[in-house]
Subunit: 396 residues, 4 copies
């Protein structure tokens, strides 16, 4: 792929030069004082993005899947019951992980395209008089369907049930791109990765853990060493790491935080909304439909788009790749063949976003989709140009 | 400017990562054997791009302007007469340089938007029975107006006059993007730079010199040291450089040649034509007009586009920069305020080209240009998608 | 730390520019065909370094510790017995990991500075008539003491006991620097990382797994998802990855293999021996003593060196860092305060190695060690210069 | 050459990662407001290094040789007389340039190894009652012999003769490494380059011009366009450049200035003295002799060292390159074969300097030089360790 064509997958994102430069650092000794000295400020910065005052911030050299494993293995024991809804590929995978770790997983099956069923959660929790359910697990942004769930509603449901279960949230593809309120929503464990809103290379998962969840580790019996919160907290506290740290990613995260704070988190969120809304206008102009069932569920980091009946979304993404050297997200799981995805998170601008819309239009036209060339672009242009200025003013 | 927005100025170009990587090299000793060893193959590669068998290839750490100076100061003496036509900013500047170096400059004034007047050159040369005219100077691609001149026609005119003048060609913004035929056109000195078709950083001019022109240096009396062909040829011949060479650019040039040859020069030219033609279709769809007077003059590396009456092209490029963080070429000289330019040379693709078209459309709409959003994009899309495949197949 | 001072810790290593350039790549879609297409050759190359014909090669975005966890969790069940000797920090940590995963760990306590006790292993295995012991775990190169163990001897011991236990080897700090013979030694699981002999950034563990060990995963009951061999093999087989892959490291590994094969593995090993031997000559000239008990145990990737009685090795490494801006390995575990370490693995040359020796000499002199300035350097110089040529001839 | 072995030529220097990162920037539009906005602060910073309040700072995309040409062609006319002493390769080349530009060059021949003859200059100027001599040209640091001349003494001589000639100084290999006092010494034109004390890639010459010298350009008749002060000052004043600027180097210079000011210029000079003095102690320990005739002439950026009688310095540098993959400076001009050079300017530390000394010792021993291995290293170590701390404290 030509090295200046942007990618439009929902992460890993296009990496800004500024972050590539920082990550391209020569090896430095992770046992030197300089390493330990950077940690407190780094974690403080991450806390700001999670919107938490005193959650512990824990990093592992792993992907987001590792974060899921860390979340459950540090807080739960084999046989523990967790409650989770399946409404996309990533909730599905987390369910699978829990089952393979010997948890008793109560699954609420939902339509793909819907979000976390706060009411059903509440109902189930109310029925759980014995507090067998130890944790509620929610995927904040379902990358497969482009659905953002209402975590605040989940919390209100839990509170209405007066249930002590922990609330664990996968915010891999939402954090640092859409608002997150760890403290306000009463989240106990939140999991994200380096390669999404932080715009870094893949390879580090970042977990925020409430004091309540930290307490659970004292009784949690699932085995863990690589993903041990205890080891990591002890080592970080002494200015170290329990094994070789991914220092390039840690220095990258430090710079990523600087970029986010320079732009301003509110502006970052506004930029993501604006770019996403332009994409949605284009989808509408094409006469296509989003997988997300309703507007309140629209994700600002990825749009999953149904192809018209009789078309194969895999043929579309493959053709875009072959003919135009550009990557869009394929349809995952139930959406395989039925939807393609446009990632719009991380380091993107009006300019780059429009290149993606213009190119997928060509690809659709090539495959005889009933769309008009330029129509989606024009809809996005109209939205972008009438909303330009404010949010761009502070873009890096 | 956001570091992934492409630029659409007619050079320096967007630099591919592959070339940035090579240029980002640690200092190596230019007096070591390794340096000298790379030169012959490097010059052979450059000769292929100039399309010459045995012209001398000479590089200087300088911009293209330095190449102009090298061309005249190594081959001419104060008071010598040169013939040149003024039809844009860069021919204008070369004229100025010649005058300041004490040459007698015969200028044929042409409309900006026209090309090299082969007939008028021939006429003037026929009248020059005493062969006072020592050189004819031609700007192959007038970057200010987006005009490519017919150098072959100039040569035929010179031949018809049976005139021994040297033919010097500024191909700064054409070489490695549009066909060039040094030997076929009987060029004596051709000048280009690192930052255009070679897609490198600015800082090296590259000059091809015929044996005939080399002979002239024996009698040429203009002073020269930094730009001395003699010094450079002698030093290069011994595996060295007469002063500190810009080794990052020389290794960059080596890799750039590899990229060009991997894609194939014919494919490189076809890609430039294709991208340029898409831009021209967009211009047409907007109802705007190119500065280039006729289709045979259209440049495949830059399009200069008149803004409608009553509009100021500087306001347009400034607005595009302020509102969308993107650079287009401003109108230069006579075109200042009257035209803007879209550079389409170097490392560009359908994907990136469309982002430029979509963005300038927004900027025009913002300033109440009578254009329809998406119209230019659609025209370009239609052209690109019906011509995709062949040329993209071999893109890097 | 000044960015051109080399580091002398036993990994992560100094990263060659050539590998930094490759790792500094823009994000590419890991679901595109290009990703899957690179895997077979990549794994073939890794197999060559492990010296195996048909072991499965499995990578995880994790550190070497993650590799230990993957090794045991994919092949063993809670309560299974493993046999391991403790003779340094890294064997100690692997023991700890096994215990925390509910294994029954039989530990042979050895002196730090000794190597794997092949005879004691054999004796214990012979006594295990019921074949309760499922695996023997060995640290090939004990980074804390600079001891390389004889894995071939361990295998011979196991064979003499005719015992079916798996043989698992931690070769994190030995692979690609010292000879390794996966097939010849009958290794079942071998674990290494990206940041040592492969000279890459930290963040990927690389595991080789025999067919016999792969069989064990069918019955192994330890929970695993992130580190699942099954998931990884299935995904890789289909040209994918079970979650987001660390593509920068994977492309880096591809290039690292090229570098290793260009130099030739035998030359790589010879270079490590030669640099290490120079360090040992220096140690001898200083009148100091290695932690490794005998010459057959000397590691070619790291030397752990006792400080004289009455001195504190931590003060030495700290002073070297403060006064000369250079990192040496601190003493770990039992060696803390008693020994410092000089890492000599990865991308090092005579030139850089001598800078480390000269600097630690200054640091020792500053702290009134009874050593003569220049003495260690001279001993190393004498060795290097009389052995130069052959091995350097093919250095990258 | 292995990409982490430092080079020990007297420039171009080892480039710090920090500066490589900045220079590795994507193309940005040099006609955008951002470019012009950076210039005033950039030039102010450069003025600080030259130690001048109001000299004009002028840059060209060229090497230092281009700076020499700019200096004379903007201030002098054909036939003008200049006074210059020849005491090394670089004064020799400047003489040659002046002669080729039609100047009347009065040459004072001095021994190579001596410095600028302030007394002889004064004498000659006193005799020049008609003020025919328009300029005195001095090489501050003669890179070929490792000699730093006393520019203050030259100025005092000129003042004693009450002569109005301009004072032009080549400080290519001294500026930003040794103290320079443009205003205090009454310098009129000073010339340096990007690739020495500024630690950048080769490709930009930087010239400081006094108001007096600027006046001269009104009458100076030597032709100039590429190197025109007028064009550059006018363009820079309007926030532009007369042709395509080397923006990577200009942003690099901006960062280089930051680095220099963070360390503090006095500390930069002290560091260069200290590293150089260590080299001189080593030379003394080897029983060798510097080309510089006396201690007051010792350069802190390069040491030229005579090889013993009967030895060939070219064989030494070639052997060091072949056997140890490391570059030292060859002997130039009169010193060819008789001396080798150790560059010690720019981004170097105790650690890297010692690697150079240790390696050249090996190379000398290999060729049977009568030196003791480790002796030079020990002498340098002794000096470095007793002077460490203060100067290192602020090293980047």
């Amino acid at each position: 792929m030509f090295d200046q064509n942007p990618i439009f997958i929902p992460g890993p994102t296009n990496v800004p030069d500024r972050l590539r430069r920082v990550m391209d650092m020569q090896t430095r000794d992770h046992r030197s004082p300089a390493f330990g000295a950077m940690l407190p400020e780094l974690f403080d910065g991450v806390r700001k993005v999670f919107n938490t005052k005193d959650a512990a911030i824990i990093t592992f050299p792993a992907s987001g899947t590792g974060g899921w494993e860390a979340a459950v293995s540090n807080t739960l024991s084999p046989g523990d019951t967790v409650l989770i809804a399946r409404y996309g590929m990533f909730s599905h995978r987390w369910i699978d992980l829990c089952q393979r770790h010997g948890l008793n997983v109560e699954i609420i099956e939902c339509a793909w395209g819907s979000g976390a069923p706060a009411d059903l959660f509440a109902e189930r929790l109310k029925a759980d008089k014995g507090h067998e359910i130890k944790a509620v697990l929610v995927t904040h942004n379902e990358t497969a369907t482009g659905v953002r769930s209402d975590i605040g509603a989940v919390r209100r449901g839990m509170d209405s049930a007066d249930h002590p279960a922990m609330l664990m949230v996968d915010c891999v593809s939402s954090l640092a791109s859409m608002p997150f309120d760890f403290d306000g929503w009463g989240v106990d464990v939140a999991i994200t990765g380096s390669q999404k809103g932080f715009m870094l290379f893949t390879g580090m998962c970042i977990v925020a853990v409430s004091q309540k969840a930290l307490e659970h580790r004292k009784t949690a019996k699932l085995p863990r060493t690589f993903f041990s919160f205890d080891d990591m907290l002890a080592a970080n506290g002494a200015g170290g790491y329990p094994y070789t740290p991914p220092i390039q990613l840690m220095f990258g995260l430090q710079e990523s935080l600087k970029m986010l704070f320079e732009e301003g988190l509110e502006n970052v969120y506004a930029r993501h909304f604006r770019l996403a809304e332009g994409v949605r206008r284009a989808v509408d102009a094409w006469g296509l439909r989003l997988c997300a069932e309703s507007a309140d569920l629209y994700s600002d980091t990825v749009s999953a788009i149904y192809v018209p009946k009789g078309f194969d979304s895999n043929a579309l993404t493959q053709h875009a790749y072959d003919a135009y050297d550009i990557s869009f997200g394929v349809g995952l799981g139930e959406m395989n063949g039925r939807a393609f995805r446009i990632g719009h998170l991380g380091a993107l601008t009006d300019v780059t976003m429009l290149s993606g819309l213009a190119t997928i239009e060509m690809a659709m036209a090539d495959l005889d989709y009933p769309i008009e060339l330029g129509s989606g672009v024009a809809a996005a242009q109209q939205f972008y140009r009438t909303t330009a200025g404010a949010s761009l003013a502070k873009a890096a």
